[in-house]
Subunit: 304 residues, 2 copies
């Protein structure tokens, strides 16, 4: 195997309060950049670019350092760490946001250390599209850019989102975001429209129903979700999916369509571990070998 | 390939009035037995056991005769054919029943002609469990029994349903019926409970999200749905799925778990054609070669 590629993730670091119908977690580790890093660092070197407040306990992310994550781009700013409080319905596909306190995240202006700027793979997690543009400008010699956003930016800063779309390779989003962004009678129609706006690849995430990977060339890849008897907390599943997918791409350095499909499967497998426990507790202890083992189980479950 | 096995289907024959948000069909061919036969007869010989009224125009099912279906078990009784009128929401997973007129179906008492009684495969479609018991008693030398039911029978005649479950090999149902029948936090927990009640195999149908095939031995098979840009009418999709699956099993005569998985894929492929047009119009013109072609496309869409 060739040397592993490096991944830079730019997004949020947060402290989450999460309620489900049966349990809860308070001030637990969260945020897109941290979920992404926890997932991707199972496979490859990750540079984290995010901001926390001076109330943030760095011991909480010691496991990321141990996995080789570069934390030099994790800014500590005076003030409070971004906090999110969410509550899930019995149908865990639905959640309400109880409170959001942006804290230092409100003034976040990503500055990439030299090593982060030289990573071959960039993950632009869900932040303001203008900040995403700024990050793109700081990158040097990038090879592959993945992009995530949310309804808030699609509705409020559509032109910014459309501008970014011209510059990225892969978009990851759910069916609701896709419908808001491009309309369409189905995700198949929607993904085709989206790829005309720039991106070569689109992943539509459907939660417990799996995902579909679209490429400008060739037919879509239909990927079921790994089945779980008792999912506990879906928070961070989407970011873990992206992290697992990019981590596998970085580890293999192979952007061939068939290898990208395998990366999609790895994304789903990593996400399946995430939802087994609250917050990113399962990701903290997860090993690459456990991921490969579940990947092999997935092969058995989809062979015909 | 060995001689094809024969399939007997016992269920309803109906005239359906179907409304979607954009179109409708009046007095169109419907009913579980006819959908099953239309799908299964693409692959293997089918014996139909059902009842119609003297208002039923036999020319409508000339295509079934041309495909070699044995109609000698299709009773014509004095009175009106079973009529169902349904209306789909914008989300076509949800439908309201506007009216039901049982007509001659109310007095249906399946009598199997000799050829039907000797079929190796029996499909007990959605009818009263006591009638299903009566059919089982008439069968001679059957090898494989598949079973479908509905919420109405699960709620109203649970003991009858439970008694039948001990005598069948395969149950096909949707996630809602599974939850009503056995409870459980997930379809994976539910299917395990259901297999303890008798059946060796369970297929949980999830509509546009595909299906999962469970076997008492081995891991589940996760099967996505074939994607459609513009589905028109989901009526009969479940029966077409069952028909396609059993048709393929009959044609191959192979009940090995891996071949049963391929049969599940064929079921989904046939169902995908059904929903492309109202009623069973697409099934009427469908050819085995078209089904095989889409099966090959499905392989391409799921390979990794």
């Amino acid at each position: 195997m060739a040397n592993k590629l490096h991944i830079t993730v730019v997004g949020s670091a947060a402290l989450d309060t999460i309620e489900t119908q049966s349990d809860h977690a308070d001030n637990a580790l969260g945020g897109s950049a941290l979920y992404l890093a926890a997932a991707a660092s199972l496979f490859a070197p990750v540079h984290i670019v995010a901001v926390v407040g001076d109330d943030f306990d760095m011991d909480q992310i010691e496991f990321l350092k141990e996995r080789g994550c570069d934390l030099s781009g994790l800014e500590v700013a005076p003030g409070k760490t971004f906090r999110w409080h969410g509550r899930y319905h019995a149908d865990m596909n639905i959640r309400d946001t109880v409170t959001v306190e942006l804290g230092v995240f409100e003034g976040f202006s990503p500055k990439l250390p030299r090593a982060a700027a030289h990573a071959e793979i960039l993950m632009l997690a869900n932040i303001h599209p203008d900040l995403q543009e700024g990050v793109l400008e700081q990158m040097k010699g990038k090879r592959f850019v993945a992009f995530d956003t949310m309804n808030h930016w699609i509705s409020g800063t559509r032109s910014g989102v459309e501008s970014i779309l011209k510059k990225v390779d892969l978009v990851l989003l759910n069916d609701e975001e896709l419908a808001l962004l491009v309309g369409g009678n189905s995700i198949f129609e929607g993904a085709a429209k989206l790829m005309k706006m720039g991106p070569k690849y689109v992943v539509v995430k459907k939660g417990e129903h799996g995902s579909v990977f679209f490429s400008q060339k060739g037919v879509p890849f239909l990927c079921p979700a790994f089945p779980l008897a008792n999912p506990k907390d879906p928070t961070g599943a989407g970011d873990s999916f992206a992290g697992g997918m990019l981590g596998y791409l970085a580890a293999t350095g192979d952007f061939d369509p068939m290898n990208m499909r395998r990366a999609v499967v790895y994304g789903g497998v990593v996400a399946s571990f995430t939802v087994e426990e609250f917050s990113m507790r399962r990701l903290e202890t997860l090993t690459e070998e456990e991921v490969h083992e579940r990947y092999r189980q997935f092969i058995e479950m989809t062979e015909f």
